[in-house]
Amino acid sequence: MISIRNVSKSYENAESAAVRDLSFDVPTGEVVVLIGPSGCGKSTTMRMVNRLVEPDAGTITIDGQDVREYRPEQLRRRIGYAIQGVGLFPHWTVAQNVAVVPGLLGWERDRIAERTTELLDLVGLEPDAYGGKYPHELSGGEAQRVGVARALAADPPVLLMDEPFGAVDPLTRDRLHVEFLAIQDRLKKTVLFVTHDMDEAVALGDRIVVMRDGMLVQQDTPERVLAYPADEFVASFVGTERALKRLSLAPVTEALAPVGLAEGCQCSVSATASLREALARILELGVPAIGVHDERHRLIGAVSVESIVERFKRPLT
C-alpha cells in the first residue's frame, strides 16, 4: 500500500504550492486514479512517490516504510514508472528500452531476453517484429505500450503511470484500457494512475482521487464520484453526461426485470454487458425492453428503460 500523508510541495519561484496537505492511500493490488485539470499537481504527487521530487512536508510510505529510508536508485528500481510523454531512449531498440531496469538490477542476459519477449507479448506487440525497432519507428500508441512494458519489466509491485495512454486516439485508447485491465487482473499491481480524462478514470480506477489546485477535492469509487460529486467543480469536471458514464459501470444484472418484459423481441445482451450497452441496443432496435442471457445463452431476465431508471433511483452504498 502507498500512503500519502499531509504532503505539501512548493516549487522554487512558484507563486502557489503545487501540492497542499494531500492525503490518500493506494491499497495493495488496486488502481487509484488521480484526476484533475492540467497543472493541479498530479505529476508532482506521483514524482514524490519515487522521489524525483522531495516534499516540503508530510510523509509517503510504501508498505509502511518511509520512502526516504531507501536510497533513491534502489527505491526507483522497485517502482515501475511510465512517465508522461513516454520518454523512450531514442538510441536504443524497443527490446533494449524494455530491458533497462532488469539490466540495472543485474539480471542474467538470458533472463532479460526472455522477460523482454514476454512483456512485448503482454502489451500486444509482436516481439520479433518490434523488438529490434527504434522508438522513432513506432506510432504514438505503440511507443506508449513500450513505455508500459518498460515500467513492468522488473515485475515491480508498485506502478506509477502518468497519462500512459495520453497520446492515442479514442479507439486505440479503449483497446489499451481493455488490455490494461486484463493485465492488472493477472498481475494485481498497486497502481497510481494519472489522467485528466474522466472516462479513463471511470474505466480503470478502483478508486478515484479528484484534485484541484494541489488539493484533494474528493476521493471515492468511480460510481460514487459520478453519482455524488462533492461540489460544483467535481460535477462540472465529471461532465453533464455523468449519468451515462454511470451506466457503463453498472452490469445489466443490477437492473434485471422479469423475462416477460422482453417478449416478442428476438434480441438479448450478455449478462456481463453494461447497462450502457443494453440501453444502446434498446434505442437502436426501438424496443421497450431487451433480454439478458447468461453464458450458456439462456434468458435470465430482461432490461427495460424503466428498470434502468429504477436502478438509478436507488442510493449507492
Binding site: 526507483r76 520518454g87 531512449f89
Partner: protein
C-alpha cells in the same frame, strides 16, 4: 558494414594524402614545373612527410587536450553542481569565438614563450571553445522526458551520463570536435613563429626568402590535411547520427 560506410572513403583519402606527402620527388617535379624560374622549390630543412609528422604532433596533442578539457567542462556545467558556472562558461565561449586565432596565438607567445610546448598550450586553449560549446548544446538537447525516465528507472547520475546523455549528444559533440580540429590544423601553422615546426615553417620560410614555391608547399600540405581530417570526422559524425536516430 554500416558503421564503416561513412569512414571508408575518408580513410582512403588519408592514405592517399600520406602517400603523396611521402613522394618528395613528386613535389620537386610539380612545384618546379609550376614555378619554372625558381631555384628554391622545396623547404630545405625537412621533407614534406617530416613536416606532416611535426604538424600532426602539434595538432593531435593539442586537440586531445582541447577535447578532454572541453568535454569535461561541458559535462561539469550541465551537472547540478556546476550549473552555477554555466553562464560564465557560456559568456567566455562566445567571447572566445570572436577572437581571431592568430591574435590569440600572438598574444600568447609573450606569456608562454617559444617551442613545441607553449604552442601546444596555445592551440589547446583555442581549440577548447568549439568542443565545449557543442558538448553543452548536445547535453542540453537531450529531451527532458528522456532524462526523467532515466532517473525514474533508477539510473545513477554517472550511469545516466554515460549510457544516455553522452550517446545522445555524441553527434553534436563530434561536430564540435570536427570544427576544433580543422581550425587547429590551420592555426597550428602559426606555431612556426614559435619554432614549433610543422607546415608553418615552409610558409614563413617562403615568405621571408621570397620563394613562393616553398610557401605553396606548406599551404598545400596544410589544406590537404585539413580536408582529410574534416572528412574523417565528418564520417564519424555521420555514422553516429545515422546509426542512432536522435528523433524522439
Amino acid at each position: 558494414m554500416r558503421a564503416l560506410r561513412h569512414i571508408a572513403a575518408p580513410m582512403l583519402a588519408l592514405g592517399a594524402y600520406l602517400a603523396v606527402a611521402a613522394a618528395t620527388p613528386l613535389w620537386t617535379a610539380a612545384l618546379g614545373a609550376a614555378f619554372p624560374g625558381e631555384t628554391r622549390i622545396l623547404y630545405p630543412d625537412a621533407a614534406p612527410l617530416e613536416l606532416v609528422a611535426q604538424h600532426l604532433e602539434l595538432v593531435l596533442i593539442s586537440s586531445a587536450i582541447s577535447i578532454a578539457v572541453g568535454l569535461a567542462l561541458g559535462v561539469f556545467v550541465t551537472r547540478p553542481a556546476g550549473a552555477g558556472f554555466y553562464d560564465v562558461v557560456n559568456d567566455l565561449t562566445n567571447l572566445g569565438q570572436t577572437f581571431p586565432p592568430v591574435a590569440v596565438f600572438t598574444l600568447a607567445v609573450p606569456f608562454l614563450g617559444f617551442g613545441l610546448r607553449p604552442t601546444v598550450v596555445a592551440l589547446a586553449l583555442y581549440g577548447i571553445l568549439p568542443v565545449l560549446r557543442n558538448t553543452v548544446a548536445g547535453l542540453k538537447g537531450v529531451p527532458a522526458e528522456v532524462l526523467e525516465s532515466a532517473t525514474g528507472m533508477g539510473m545513477r547520475s554517472a550511469e545516466r551520463l554515460l549510457r544516455v546523455e553522452l550517446p545522445l549528444a555524441a553527434p553534436v559533440i563530434v561536430a564540435g570536435i570536427r570544427v576544433s580540429v580543422v581550425v587547429n590544423v590551420a592555426t597550428a601553422t602559426i606555431g612556426a613563429i614559435a619554432g614549433a615546426g610543422g607546415f608553418g615553417a615552409p610558409i614563413i620560410n617562403g615568405l621571408v626568402n621570397l620563394a613562393p614555391a616553398v610557401t605553396l608547399e606548406g599551404a598545400l600540405l596544410a589544406a590537404g590535411l585539413a580536408l582529410v581530417l574534416d572528412a574523417l570526422l565528418g564520417g564519424v559524425e555521420h555514422t553516429l547520427a545515422s546509426g542512432r536516430p536522435s528523433a524522439v
